[in-house]
């Protein structure tokens, strides 16, 4: 069939836009209601940080899915597959396989040994103040990278709903200004949400969101497959044909590892970029602070394990749907219509929903309804992830930095929660400002940067902490700061920030690092520095390691 060469903005009829926006707002109101209800149950610090540790394996599995399947998974991957075909699927695979690192090496030990934050384990047998400070810095940096992606996704999404697109005006503002206003407004709303809800509120939001996202993606997948009579091959064939790139659309190499004839260096760097991305994706998950704190919301390590298994099932199933969403958008919406709305493809999935609604649910109204539903689902997706991230980073600032470092363990719980709430505002504001510059980047790509930073700054220290007896304070600081600083430094001098048309500062050029993702350099640096830092210091604490090892393996003394 012919691709729908129109956009939400053109399909208006003010009535269908009003319908879309109304349905969308109703949904947002419902989730807010749940959060406020749950917030009434938040009384102690354990409630705020760890949701009272009362969730079941399935509930927490859903919540992990909710925390993990971000704008990157839904909007970002669908967009990348829709625009570049097979290469987008690499994200789905990396994001999923990464869970094995979390399952086998991290989840249960962390649950047993820690209490509220990632730093509980990192600082277990180290000098508290420097290690907690480092962990707090790293948590905040990773969360901000991740938040930027979510805000960009939210901006793209709400712009689509409101009919804002390049070259149009909205309420007298040009499209760029309107988009910036959207990001600020949506970002602010999300932060309020977290500050009110705490962990218990956000956990329920995650569960509701995971359910909605799975359902929404399933319905779209079924509609796409039904369109092709459940023949995956003909879906792929049509997507390839519509893309104008033929069979190459179904093979690796359109976006990553691009082979430029006659330019060996460019080809080499492009392939390195692919490897770098691959490594960052698979090693990032187990270093993500907002995912790690999820393991604290269950009572025991066995339930933590069970919740990871549920999460792998839910997330894996969802990533299979991304194939249908991405290739479906390529075939039924078309790359041209997608890039006309959003250069980076971030709106492919909701645009696909609209096209499917028009074809299967009775014309323009059906399109408006399905668009509203899927947009609301995507919005809830982003909201939930923003909540999880803001919470993890503000918790770390309050618990690791304020209570342990500034107040030396003398802060009251009330004080700590108050600081966490203020921190949530500040971190959220920083992310909002930065995301304004990152609008032309794909959100899955942006999240992959957060993964690279997490894998470089956090993962080496976590692995060494849990398994290496000799590891010490100096090693932890070298690992965290070495990995973190090298990752951020390389991103700053990469084409992501300057010197490329999609860069944050497209008109300047100070880049010299050729790769878009720093993982292949910065992750080994994290591990190497951790080792160097450890061996140059004489400090070891065999007693505390005995305690950590016994507790992490047996669950004795777990909070």
């Amino acid at each position: 069939m012919e691709p729908h060469l129109f956009l939400a903005a053109d399909a208006d009829g003010a009535s269908s836009r009003t319908l879309t926006i109304t349905l969308f707002l109703i949904f947002v109101a419902i989730t807010l209601g749940i959060t406020i209800w749950a917030s009434r149950q938040t009384k102690t610090a354990t409630d705020y940080y760890a949701g009272g540790r009362s969730f079941s394996g399935f509930q927490n599995g859903m919540a992990i899915g909710g925390d993990y399947m971000s704008a990157a998974s839904f909007l970002g991957i669908a967009g990348l597959i829709a625009l570049y075909g097979y290469d987008g699927f690499l994200y789905s695979i990396g994001f999923l396989v990464a869970w094995l690192v979390a399952l086998l090496l991290v989840a249960e030990f962390l649950r047993n040994a820690g209490r509220y934050t990632m730093a509980d384990v990192l600082a277990f047998r180290m000098r508290q103040r420097p290690v907690r400070t480092a962990a707090s810095v790293s948590t905040i940096v990773v969360s901000i990278f991740y938040l930027i992606a979510q805000m960009v996704g939210a901006g793209a999404l709400v712009s689509l709903l409101l009919g804002i697109k390049p070259g149009t005006t909205f309420l007298g503002m040009d499209a760029d200004t309107a988009k910036i206003a959207t990001i600020i407004l949506v970002g602010a709303l999300m932060i309020v949400y977290v500050v009110v809800g705490g962990m218990k509120g956000t956990t329920y939001v995650q569960i509701v969101k995971a359910f909605l996202l799975m359902t929404g993606a399933l319905v779209m997948t079924l509609l796409v497959l039904a369109h092709y009579k459940f023949n995956l091959s003909s879906l792929l064939g049509d997507a390839a044909a519509q893309s104008g790139k033929g069979a190459a659309f179904l093979e690796p190499g359109l976006r990553y590892g691009v082979e430029t004839a006659g330019d060996a260096a460019k080809t080499f760097y492009s392939k390195m970029d692919l490897l770098s991305l691959g490594i960052a994706l698979v090693l990032g998950t187990a270093g993500l602070p907002h995912i790690l704190t999820r393991f604290y919301t269950v009572p025991t390590s066995k339930i933590a394990r069970k919740s990871v298994l549920w999460a792998i099932g839910i997330i894996g199933t969802f990533y299979l749907f991304t194939l249908a969403l991405g290739f479906g958008a390529a075939a039924l919406v078309g790359g041209k219509a997608i890039t006309a709305q959003d250069k980076a493809g971030n709106t492919a999935a909701p645009q696909l929903a609209q096209a499917l609604g028009i074809d299967y649910l009775g014309g323009d109204t059906g399109g408006a309804v399905l668009l509203a539903i899927i947009a609301a689902v995507a919005f809830a997706t982003i909201l939930a992830v923003v909540a999880g991230l803001t919470l993890a980073s503000s918790s770390s600032l309050a618990h690791d930095f304020y209570a342990s470092v500034v107040k030396r363990g003398q802060a009251s719980e009330r004080d700590e929660v108050r600081v966490a709430r203020i921190a949530a505002f500040v971190i959220g504001a920083i992310a909002i400002v930065l995301s304004i510059f990152a609008q032309s980047l794909n959100v899955a790509f942006l999240v992959a940067l957060a993964f690279a930073v997490a894998a470089s700054g956090n993962l080496p220290a976590i692995i060494y902490s849990l398994f290496w007896k000799r590891f010490n304070t100096s090693g932890a600081l070298w690992a965290i700061y070495g990995g973190l600083i090298s990752a951020v430094f390389l991103v700053f001098f990469s084409p992501v920030v300057s010197g490329a048309p999609t860069a944050m500062f497209p008109d300047s050029d100070w880049h010299w690092f050729p790769l878009n993702n720093p993982g292949i350099i910065s992750i080994p640096i994290g591990f190497l520095f951790g080792w160097i830092g450890t061996v140059i210091s004489k400090e070891t604490d065999a007693d505390k390691y005995a305690e950590l090892e016994v507790r992490s393996l047996t669950g004795f003394g777990a909070h």
């Binding site: 869970w99 399952l103 003909s234 505390k544």
Partner: protein, 128 residues
């Protein structure tokens, strides 16, 4: 001082016990090789995507090519490893871990009457 062991001595004692050594060995002998295995399998997939374009583009059934099949196999392997690990842990790890923890809990309960808990609010706490 009484003749009772302090919590730290108790941890060192447990850590040095044969039972705990067996727990650690079993766990590490499973998770480390398994991590290496799935990582290499994933790395193979990424390397093929980068350097074996011809092979990846071979069509198998209709438009379904080797690249897509290998990608889907990554899903299958992830599901299988997760399932296999959970079965292994429930059968081989949990019983030993539970036994050691129960022994420690009983010991700690008798000790706790004799000492005051000086743990700070935020520091790693001594076992309660």
């Amino acid at each position: 001082m009484t003749t009772e062991t302090t919590p730290t001595e108790k941890y060192l004692e447990v850590q040095a016990s044969d039972e705990f050594a067996a727990l650690r060995r079993k766990l590490r002998n499973f998770v480390f090789p398994m991590t290496v295995a799935f990582f290499l399998w994933y790395a193979l997939y990424v390397l093929l995507s980068a350097y074996a374009r011809g092979f990846m583009s071979v069509k198998l059934i209709g438009n379904i090519n080797v690249a897509l099949l290998l990608g889907l196999l990554q899903f299958v392997s992830t599901f299988v490893i997760a399932w296999y690990y959970s079965r292994f842990a429930a059968k081989e790890i949990d019983p030993i871990a539970d036994k050691i923890r129960d022994e420690l809990t009983v010991g700690a309960a008798t000790r706790s009457a004799a000492r005051t808990d000086d743990a700070t609010e935020t520091g790693p706490e001594v076992a309660k």
